[in-house]
Symmetry: D2
Subunit: 263 residues, 4 copies
C-alpha cells in the first residue's frame, strides 16, 4: 500500500492554548458533568450517548476489571518483576488480549455488525443471518466465538446478569437479538446447548451501543489495564528478586548433549 | 537479586469454577452495584472507598481520556497504520507515558507520600516537608515535577476545577495540602509563581484516595488507553496505506556519501 | 480453546548450574566457534546449517539493519523521547512490523511453503503452484505480497544482489524458484511487470534456509532491533525535551465547538 | 521540558529513491561486503570498526542468543499463546530486559564510561576510579551490578572465555581494565571474591568497542530477540490452547469472602 500522508487529521479531539476539545465539547466542561463511560462513548461514537448506555458500559467495565492470575496479569507481573516501569508492564499485559485469549468479542462482533446491516436493508431475515454467521465459522473450521463455556454448559450466569442491566437501561438491540438467534441456530445445527458467553454478550452489547466492531476488544483490555496496574504494584511491593520458573518445572526434549567438534 | 519464587500469590483477586472474587467480593455482585471507579479503588486499596472518592476519580479519568494528536496517540496510530492489532497499537501508546512525558505525578507523588508519613509521625511540619521536597529536586538539578505550565503562567485552570470536585466530595487531604505548600515554597524560593499543574493535582489527589504512589502514573495511562483505542480505529478506518514521513521533513546530517572500498 | 498446560516444555534450550545448552550444544562451545547467523539457524531449525546459509543470512541481516526515519524508528524515537527506557522504546518499534508494513515476507512465505510441499509430493507442477498462489491473493482482493516496487518498476535492484549471494552460497532452492515463477505468472496474468521485491526475496530465501514461515517476519524485525536501539540513543542524546507535532500540522475535522448544556 | 521539535534530524541513515545510506555508505555496497556485526558497529559508532571488534561482537551475540525458559521467553510465549502476532510477542519479551533482570551491564557501564573519562584526563588513577565506583553503589545501598554469581562463587567461567576472544582480537581496553580493578576493589573492601560476571564483561567490552553506555542493554536484548522469535514459533506450533496457570499454583491471601450488602 502506498505511504502518502504527511500531516495529521482527526475528528476525535484537539488541544490549543485555550482548551482541549473532544468531539466539539470543551473537556473542562465535561469533567464533573459527564461520567467517564459517557465521555468514552462520546469519543468513540461522536455523540453523547442515551443515558442508559453509560450505565451499562460502566457495569461492563466492572465485569472485566480483574480476574486474578491470568495470562495478562502474569505477563505484567513478569515485566514488573524484571524491573521495567509500570507503563511497560501494563502494555505487555494488554498485548495478551490476542486473537485466542481476548478476541472472541471482536470476531463475533464483526459478523454481527455485517449481518445487522443486511437485516436492516431487508436483504436477510434474522434466522438467515444467524445461519450465515454459524456457517461462516464452520467453513473456517472454527468454533463460533462467543458461545459455550467449559465450566457452565447450561450457560454463563454473567450473561443474563448483563442483559438484565442492558434491558433496564434500554440498550438491548438488533445486535443482541441476532446474537441470541445465533445461539438458537447453534442448538439446532449442533444438537447441543452452546449458549452465549460473556465475551459474546460484550461484543453484541458494544455494537448495540453503536461502537465500531474494531473497538470491541478494547472493552476488555481498557478496563483490565486498571487491574494490570494493580498487579504490577503488588508485584513490585510484595515480591523480592525477579520472578523465575524453577528448573524442575521445565522439560527439555530437544536433542541430547552433543559435541560441536570444532576448534 | 535472587530468583526464588515458583508459585503465584496475590491478595487482589482469584477465580474458580464458581466465581471471580475481588478483594473478598463476588465480582458478579459488584457488577451493576458499584461503579467502575469504586471497583478500581477497591482493587487498588483493598477496601471499598468512601462515596465521594469514586466521583472524583471518575472526573479525573474524564480529564485525561484524550488530548488529541499527542505522543501517545501518534505512536498508537503509527502502529495501527502498520497493521499491528489494536491491543499492540494501544500498548505502544501506553508506553509513551514515560518519565519525561507522563511521570510527573508519580515523581511528585513519591515525595508527597514519603513526607506525609513524616508529618503524621510528628517528625516534620508542613513547611519543613515542603522545603525538603523542593530541596530534593533542586539537589537533583531538576524542576519540581507537577508545577508550572508553559501556557498558563498564572495557573493551570484545570487544577481549581478538580479541587472544587475534590472538596465537594471530601477527598482533599494531607497530600493535597502539602502539594499546595510546595507551590508556596516554590514562590518563596524562586521568587516567581510556579503553581501546581494538572499532573501535580492528579498525583496529590490520587494519594488522598489512598493509592500507592507507584500506581499514580496509571491514573493517566489507564483512562487514556480508551482514547488510544479510538485513535487506533480512526486510523484504521479513515486513512489508507501506511503512515510515513515525507523525505523533505527529514534532515540527514551524518557523514556524506563515501565509497566502501572493498570487494 | 482449552487452557490445559501448567508446565514448560521446550526443545530449544535449557540452562542448569553447569551450562546453557542450545539444541544439544554447550553454549560456551558455540561462543567463538560458530557465528551468530549459524547459531540462529541452529536454534531455529534444530541443526547447524550448511556453511553457506549463515553467510547469506548475515548479508540479509545487513540489508534490513536500518532504513533511517521510517515508521518503526519513528515509534522508537517518540517512546525514547517520552522517557520510557530503551527496551520499551525498541519494543514499540518492533511492533511496527505489522501486517501492512512488515508482513509481506510472511504472507508470501506461508503460500510458498504450502505449495512447495505440494510440488515435492508430486501433486502440483511449478506453474500450477504459481497460478494457485496468484489466485489465492486475487480471490482475497489483495495484491500479491512481495512483488512490485513503487520506485523500481523494472525491478528492485536489491533482489538480484541477494540472489547473487544466495547462488554463490548454495542456498537458492525450491521456494525461490517458485517465487520467481509467481513473478512470471503475474506478468502473464496482469500483462505488466511486477517483479519480486526485497520482502519477497527474504521470504523465499528464509524458507530455502529451512525456516518456518511463521518466523520469516523476524528476519526483518530482529536485525532492525539493532538499528532501533541506535535511534533510541540518538534521540536521547541529541534531542532536548519531548517530541511533539506542532499544532499547525494537525487538522481537526470533527464537530465544531458546541455547548454541553448541563450543570 | 519543552516540546519544540517538528521535523526529523538524524545522522544514522537515510533513504531516497536511489539508495539507503548508512553513515555515508550505500547499504547495497555493505550487503555481502561487511558482516552484520561490523554494520551494527558502523551504525552505532559512526565508523567502520577495527577488524577484531566485529569478531568479538558476533561472539557476544551468540552468548546471549537464548537461555531457554527465562522471564523474557516466558512473556513471549504467553503472548504468542494468547494469539498476539510474533512482533508483539517478541516485543513483550524484549521488555523483560528491565533494570533488575537485564540492566546490570548498563548500570555498570554508565559508571565505567564516566570514570574512564576522568582517568584519561588525568584526574583519577585506576584505583581511585575503582573505589569511586564501588562507593557509588554502596552509597545507594545496592550491590555493584555486574559482579558475583550465585552458582559460580569462584567466577563466572564465561568471562575468561569472552576475554580470550577479546584479547585475541585486540578489543580489551581501558573500560575492561577498570572493570577488573573494580573486582579487585570489591575483594579488598568486602573481604570476599565477587568476580565480574557475564553482564559486567558485556558492559565493559561494549564500551571498549566505543559504544555509548545507553546502548549496552541492547547487546543483550537485540540478539535475544532472535531467540524470542524461535520461542514464539515453538509455542504457536507445539502447544494447543492458551497457556494458563492451574488454580492449585495460585494462593489468594486477600480478604475472605464477604457480602457486598447493597442492592
Amino acid at each position: 500500500m502506498p505511504a502518502t500522508r504527511d500531516k495529521w487529521r482527526t475528528a476525535i479531539a484537539y488541544g490549543d492554548q485555550h482548551a482541549v476539545v473532544l468531539r466539539g465539547y470543551d473537556l473542562q466542561e465535561l469533567v464533573g458533568q459527564v461520567s467517564f463511560a459517557e465521555a468514552f462513548l462520546l469519543l468513540a461514537t461522536g455523540e453523547l450517548p442515551p443515558p442508559g448506555h453509560a450505565k451499562l458500559l460502566d457495569a461492563m467495565m466492572v465485569s472485566v476489571l480483574d480476574h486474578g492470575i491470568v495470562p495478562s496479569s502474569i505477563v505484567t507481573r513478569y515485566l514488573a518483576s524484571a524491573g521495567s516501569p509500570i507503563q511497560a508492564a501494563v502494555a505487555g499485559g494488554v498485548m495478551a488480549f490476542g486473537d485466542t485469549y481476548g478476541g472472541a468479542c471482536e470476531q463475533l462482533g464483526q459478523q454481527l455488525a455485517k449481518h445487522v446491516v443486511e437485516m436492516r436493508a431487508g436483504r436477510e431475515t434474522e434466522p438467515q443471518a444467524a445461519a450465515a454467521i454459524v456457517g461462516h465459522f464452520v467453513a473456517l473450521g472454527r468454533k463460533v466465538p462467543g458461545y459455550g463455556h467449559a465450566l457452565h454448559p447450561e450457560g454463563d450466569p454473567r450473561v443474563p446478569h448483563l442483559y438484565r442491566i442492558a434491558d433496564a437501561n434500554g440498550v438491548t438491540g438488533d445486535h443482541s437479538r441476532l446474537a441470541f438467534a445465533v445461539g438458537a441456530e447453534l442448538l439446532r445445527a449442533k444438537g447441543r446447548k452452546l449458549p452465549m458467553n460473556q465475551d459474546g454478550a460484550i461484543g453484541a452489547l458494544g455494537l448495540d451501543m453503536n461502537l465500531d466492531w474494531r473497538l470491541l476488544r478494547a472493552l476488555a483490555f481498557m478496563p483490565r489495564s486498571a487491574g494490570l496496574a494493580v498487579h504490577a504494584v503488588e508485584e513490585m511491593t510484595r515480591e523480592a528478586g525477579w520472578r523465575h520458573v524453577p528448573d524442575e518445572e521445565i522439560t527439555y526434549d530437544g536433542p541430547p548433549r552433543r559435541p560441536l567438534g570444532r576448534g
